[in-house]
Symmetry: C2
Subunit: 430 residues, 2 copies
Amino acid sequence: MTKEIPADQSSAVSPLAPVGGFPELPAIDGVTIATGASGVRYHGRDDVMVASIAPGSSVAGVFTRSSTRSESVRDCEKKIALAARTDQSGPFGLLACAGNANTFTGTHGRDCVELTASALGRKLGTSARRVFTAFTGVIGERLPVERVLATLDGLDLAHGAERRPDGFERAAAAITTTDTFPKGAGRRIPLGDREICIAGIAKGSGMIAPDMATMLAFVFSDAKVDQDLLQRLVGTANEATFNSTTVDGDTSTSDTLIVAATGRSGVEVSERDPAVLDSFGAGLECVMLDLAQQVIRDGEGATKFVEIEVRGGASPESSKRVAMAIANSPLVKTAISGEDPNWGRIVMAIGKSGEAVDPDRLTISMGDTLVASGGESACPPDEIERTLAAYMRQPEIRIVADVGVGSSAATVWTCDLSKRYVEINADYRS
Amino acid sequence: MTKEIPADQSSAVSPLAPVGGFPELPAIDGVTIATGASGVRYHGRDDVMVASIAPGSSVAGVFTRSSTRSESVRDCEKKIALAARTDQSGPFGLLACAGNANTFTGTHGRDCVELTASALGRKLGTSARRVFTAFTGVIGERLPVERVLATLDGLDLAHGAERRPDGFERAAAAITTTDTFPKGAGRRIPLGDREICIAGIAKGSGMIAPDMATMLAFVFSDAKVDQDLLQRLVGTANEATFNSTTVDGDTSTSDTLIVAATGRSGVEVSERDPAVLDSFGAGLECVMLDLAQQVIRDGEGATKFVEIEVRGGASPESSKRVAMAIANSPLVKTAISGEDPNWGRIVMAIGKSGEAVDPDRLTISMGDTLVASGGESACPPDEIERTLAAYMRQPEIRIVADVGVGSSAATVWTCDLSKRYVEINADYRS
């Protein structure tokens, strides 16, 4: 579009960003990453990230369920299914590009996916059917694909960026759009004298909702995992991580999570060894939760990081729907933005969820303060206000609600709704 | 609460308010209204409205479906059902009070409903079971009911406010909270040499969502209508009016629509006379749509009135869910606030609805401009921007989307999401 991106949108780092900056991530044997600058939308920064994933790796993916999802998402879905069924060989390739979503541009969009996947396939000496693409940015505008292809041409995968100390950070920065900081997370999982490493990067800031936070996330491990098992582990971890976060309730057309396991550590993860399986599953979920929470910490205009736990629900799914009703309520989110302990709006949001709730047994806590129990206020409003005034000024807020009908629970994460969210989204073409 | 209500929240009338101010409404024979000032929350203004509805009237109601709905709502639901089943006599009474929702305050809240209904019943010489109450305002704070009772004592229903030229307007003003203007609508329906009159008032501004906009609405007519028929007509009209509007997707605990028909015109509305039935049904829907749209025009912080029509849906319900997904999308609403013809976000919202959609046949128009068709942009982005720049600056925006799978349609109404919405809701305890 012709609109310029205001400079202050990229300059101010979210006040909720993790302290200490981008974490040190373990290099993943078998994965080579490179970045480049295509100028599709952004200038003076990298905006293309490419990964080569060694032959013999397994790949799993979770994608947006939007019915208007992008051509890349539809293409990745097919290729993941294909990789599970066939015995192809050669490396896998991954291309991500920020600035244009390559979505809702008809046959042109389809052509762009084919052209970029083929080009990267040729560069890696592998079939285009083993190359995954992901685009993020403005919907409905034609991608100037020649710029991406020219950038691909110039990339040196033999000396990939992740070999350098700032490799994953450069990759994480290259895929950002309205993000104010690059997002990475990793774990080293010791297993006796062996070790599994996991490293992941993500981007995402707005258009974040259940059925995948609106984001791209790429996670790599040197574990050896059968593709079906990897897909199951990723699906389970996804429910408790990316699918338990929301910024604005809006679901992207391009949400993509791809997890690759190269096997180069020589450690096999399988049902036959429950200890290794559990360690790997927990490590994967840790990395994914860390990334998902970083996306929330970078929520557009966010000034508060909010954890919402719902207990006493009829089922885990029901508990999660109640938690998401609270997390997505504009009135709850604006109250938190205003540092107002307005728990009446939490009662409202629980009520609108449509889930089984016993109003007469409902309890609500904010931080350590019980604000409501047994269907009414737990102490006089002025006292609640005094007790909670300091708490509400904290950058991290925790809300626990017990809906009093069962024994299930769920936890979700969100941020507040501030004037800055409106400013960013009234002005930025995303 | 201890917080003061900022003066500017009540002073600035919405830029979308109907021109010409409060409409002239027909007096309804058999209905007497009075207002008073209790000082429960607001000072220097009336905040209590009472109506006496003549014996022989029928009464219908629609209420919030929130599982944390107020004691008044639960009480009204029972009384409406009772009125249908029993052959009680005497007038009906109606009490509405602004400033405190009398919700989620346990047995105290239940006592307040009983005390106020009994007091008004005694005043009107009727059973408390024929008195409906409605409270709107802060959730979870105890209602200082003695102030409401004292105010009731002082009201003069023999010389009710609606007998004065500004009667309904005073009543409409008495029930407002964050509203910036009082809302009224009426129709005179000529039927040969006879006439049916309908007059209604409403309040509502935020916490407005499907399953009743968050609001109170009271509609009176001098038609003679059997209660079962009246309830059916009100239910049908409600789907196409209040239930087709949204400000913020948040559902109140106190939504109440009560419709009373006194029969004093002598005109009977029944299945036996389809012409009269249709005229009354259409008139009722007209009044309710007018009131519902006024609530949207007074949406908190609203600067744009937005009509969204979805065509080509699999069913009317599916079309409405797609329309509501667009209407409730923070990203669509902020784009409209920023006067940005960002139709890509409409594609996103349609996709997240979960409804049957054919992306390759999707068309979207904004005003008279076709912005997308056949699964892609209908003209270059810069041209869309030029063509639509002036349109997006208008206070009223119309979006039409055809999802290409069926022949059903639905229309809903909403407003934009502005910084002012956040300001109002970060600071106001509702």
